[in-house]
């Protein structure tokens, strides 16, 4: 057994995970340092979101070990897993706000479910968190009245309302305009430093991540192919890393999806697929 590292919030060892016959991770090792912003990057389809689901216990590894805050997820009872999740916040790709509740009630939701705080205190907590994401004025709006960027900021307020130790972002920049993107980027950094969080950001936006992440893990083919600061990755001596960081269309990750011979397929008769 590897020695537990006090400075890692998440420790993954020899992780193997497969869906049916498709192996997604095989022998993945990863340590996510405490108190930093860590980015997990990789081409689409490398299982970044799957990795998040493994870290949050929504999926269980086939073999290997996933430890979060020192707890091994595979042996965890449901109640213990829920107790652990109260120490985590997660921002989903589209915000995942509860559409039948107002912005205020969405942010208040975890408090109402898990605490018996008086209404006055709930109100103060919710307004403080909404102020932190700059949306205190929208407290009475319904989720359908928000823009994509606003919905994600409300979801962020909801994710931090229980004061988590770990904050997880699933593709936080997808589909945002440059202004909203800048706002979210600044919030990731500010919340991490002000609240003493550990942030994990899954993304494939190389440029944005470079401005905010302390450490980057680059995944490809079910393994970590590179690890380092964004600057180190820019000059990493590997074809895969160079293709990804430089956004090159062809390379170790082929442009073409595997297919039969092109001319053969074009010239084939219709009744002979």
């Amino acid at each position: 057994m590897p020695v537990t590292n006090q400075n890692s919030v998440v420790e993954i060892r020899a992780l193997r995970y497969a869906v049916a016959s498709r192996v997604i991770f095989d022998g993945l090792d990863m340590d996510i340092p405490r108190g930093r912003v860590t980015a997990i990057m990789g081409p689409s389809g490398t299982g970044k979101t799957t990795l998040l689901r493994l870290i949050t216990g929504q999926l269980l590894a086939d073999s290997g070990s996933v430890k979060v805050a020192g707890l091994e997820l595979s042996g965890l009872a449901r109640n213990d897993l829920y107790a652990l999740r109260r120490r985590m916040g997660m921002l989903f790709q589209n915000g995942a706000l509860l559409t039948d509740l107002s912005v205020f009630e969405n942010v208040a939701f975890p408090l109402r479910e898990h605490t018996r705080l008086p209404e006055r205190l709930i109100r103060q907590l919710v307004l403080t968190k909404l102020q932190a994401v700059g949306l205190r004025g929208s407290a009475e709006l319904m989720p359908a009245e928000l823009s994509g960027g606003m919905a994600r900021r409300v979801a962020l307020a909801r994710a931090i309302v229980m004061d988590p130790e770990i904050l997880i972002y699933d593709e936080p920049f997808v589909g945002l305009d440059p202004i909203s993107m800048g706002v979210i980027l600044r919030l990731i950094r500010r919340l991490n430093d002000a609240l003493g969080l550990t942030s994990v950001v899954v993304s494939h936006d190389v440029h944005e991540i470079s401005t905010v992440a302390d450490t980057v893990f680059l995944l490809s083919g079910g393994k970590v192919v590179a690890r380092g600061t964004p600057q180190e990755l820019q000059s990493y001596p590997s074809e895969v890393v160079r293709q990804f960081m430089g956004g090159l269309a062809d390379g170790p990750v082929p442009f073409h999806y595997p297919a039969a011979d092109y001319f053969g397929e074009l010239l084939a008769r219709e009744d002979q697929p």
């Binding site: 997660m90 989903f92 706000l97 509860l98 939701f109 479910e113 898990h114």
Partner: protein, 255 residues
């Protein structure tokens, strides 16, 4: 032998699904102790499934009762026993038409709403978000909707039957000229508590069945537009078939 093979496959498929739905029901029932404490959530769902279905239930009940008045009168007149119209309409509605038609209307109005709501919550990650906030979606979202349907169904069926009886009275007494006194007094003397009980048991069973099918299909919908659509369709079709099949079993059991 592809036909035989297909029949066998679809039979086994239905059986597997029945097993899955039953296991889902057991999972739901395990949430009961915690779920019953959230009474305000259940009341909100009784409103959604029950009160919002009231207009359609009353309207359909009125028309069905009016048809019963017309058809019943024509039939009973041949035997010279129009006075029994009240009994015929009341027994038909309380034992049979009330519970069954309410269940079919419930599946179409409230069942589809439940299934598509849960399906969309799944598709937009709201269910996953709750799990990540350490809130059990079965207890917070699914159980109140299920219980709301179970409680609303017998009430709706009772209202359907009552409005239906007045519909039959409207046509039979006001239009066709059946004596008002014998319409009501015959009904009172020949409709037993046993008949009413049969109606109550049926509508309770249909309530459990239709609500369970709706929340099961919605909760397990594939998280795509097409998946939510097909979950909604399956809710209506399965609810209708299950209702009519169970209605036969229950009627036979009450004989």
């Amino acid at each position: 032998m592809t036909l035989l093979h297909d029949v066998r496959e679809s039979f086994l498929g239905s059986l597997t699904r029945l097993g899955a739905v039953t296991r889902f029901l057991l999972r739901l029932l395990r949430q009961l102790p915690g779920g019953l404490k959230r009474w305000e959530l259940i009341v909100a769902q009784i409103f959604n499934s029950g009160a919002l279905s009231l207009v359609i239930i009353m309207l359909c009940g009125l028309f069905v009762g009016m048809v019963l008045g017309l058809q019943g009168y024509q039939l009973l007149e041949r035997f010279g026993s129009e006075d029994a119209l009240g009994t015929a309409a009341a027994i038909g509605l309380v034992k049979e038409l009330g519970p069954v038609l309410t269940a079919l209307l419930f599946a179409g109005r409230a069942g589809t709403a439940l299934a598509s709501e849960l399906g969309l919550m799944r598709a937009t990650d709201q269910i996953s978000a709750m799990e990540m906030m350490a809130v059990d979606p079965l207890q917070r979202v699914v159980l109140p909707r299920f219980l709301g349907g179970v409680i609303a169904m017998p009430l709706l069926a009772a209202i359907f039957s009552i409005v239906g009886i007045y519909g039959a009275q409207l046509i039979g007494v006001q239009v066709m000229g059946v004596d008002s006194g014998s319409f009501w007094s015959q009904m009172r003397s020949s409709v037993d508590l046993k008949d009413v009980n049969e109606g109550i048991v049926k509508s309770f069973v249909f309530g459990v069945t239709c609500s369970l099918i709706a929340v099961y299909e919605g909760y397990h919908a594939r998280p795509t537009a097409e998946g939510v659509g097909s979950a909604t369709t399956r809710t209506v079709v399965t609810s209708a078939v299950a209702t009519l099949f169970l209605d036969y079993l229950l009627t036979a059991a009450f004989l």
